[in-house]
Amino acid sequence: MNCKKVKKNLAGYLEKNLTKNMEEELENHFESCPACSHLLEEFSQLWEALEHREKIQPSPYFWTRLKQRVVGYEEGRKPVWGWLGGLVDWARPAVAVAVLLICVFLGYSLGNFPQTVNGQTTSQVDERTLALQEFFDSHYLNPLNNLPTGSIEATYLEMISGE
């Protein structure tokens, strides 16, 4: 047996997967070839490391981490209308329709506010706006009545007051 054939059968030799005849041939070769004998020594250490790998242990937080993920997943799956889940089956559509009608009514009411009748603003908001406008005019525009006629300031005042 030559060195090349020995190298091809090293793993088989260590795993005792060779025939008795082949095994004896290899052993005879190892006795007569120091290079292959040395190679067998080194190779067997690596093969041993390959055969017997250490088992690892899960981290102490394995379950805690997993449970957090599972709880997060379940909460994410709850529907927005989760509170409807507590109702009996027949009541769910009725409650959903009622909520929808309330929303439509509120939307319609808000859309029509403030209301006007015959061109007159009737809402409280517009009344307050008018009162503020009068207050502003009397306190800030009236003192400007004495501006020289034809000046830029007087012309601008005329433009904004609409007179």
Partner: protein, 191 residues
């Protein structure tokens, strides 16, 4: 409680039953992932994924096979997906390891129990080499070899898990051993 009852309780979102399953099988799943991935942190992440998938799709368990067979199958698939994803983002990892100045995998190999530092170092180096040669195996060979060698499964069980034929499993394991022998001899030649 038998397998079917346990799975039914998990389908019903019973956390206690799920914890029972995790306690019973976490070593199996974690070490299968570890032997395929060769990295403790990746194995832990993959094992989390496996159990999360089990929780989400417990109803898919058909009771024809054992729970362990089902879990092995998910663990193998998850680990192989993990490897593919890592390969895709390989350039980023290489850049990161370049910046760190060392290979992370070395630190992930379990430390030796030996009292002598030189012996411990040699043992750690051997473990790194072993991991590298296992990593170099093609996916199918690696899966068959790991399940047979480290999980102690029979060829028949591996065939059920991987859905390969019995003769394919035999062939894959044989070729895996030849590849490993070749790689290890190559390393010794370079040394």
């Amino acid at each position: 409680m038998n397998d079917e009852e346990l799975i039914q309780r998990i389908i019903d979102k019973d956390h206690l039953a799920f914890k029972l399953l995790v306690d019973q099988y976490q070593h199996l799943v974690l070490n299968t992932c570890y032997n395929l991935l060769g990295n403790r942190q990746d194995a832990e992440d993959a094992a989390q994924e496996v159990f999360f998938q089990v929780y989400k799709s417990a109803q898919k368990f058909r009771g024809e096979a054992k729970i362990s067979t089902w879990l092995y199958r998910i663990a193998v698939n998850r680990s192989l997906n993990f490897i593919r994803d890592k390969k895709r983002s390989g350039w980023l990892r290489n850049l990161s390891s370049l910046l760190e100045g060392e290979r992370q995998e070395v630190a992930d190999v379990p430390a030796s129990d030996s009292a002598r530092p030189d012996v411990a170092l040699e043992e750690k180096e051997r473990n790194v080499i072993v991991q590298k040669v296992i990593d170099s195996l093609p996916e199918k060979q690696r899966t068959a070899f790991v399940l047979h060698k480290y999980e102690g499964l029979s060829y028949q069980e591996i065939a059920e898990i991987s859905k390969y034929s019995l003769s394919s499993v035999e062939s894959l394991i044989h070729r895996a051993k030849l590849n490993l022998q070749k790689q290890l001899l190559g390393y010794l030649k370079q040394k």
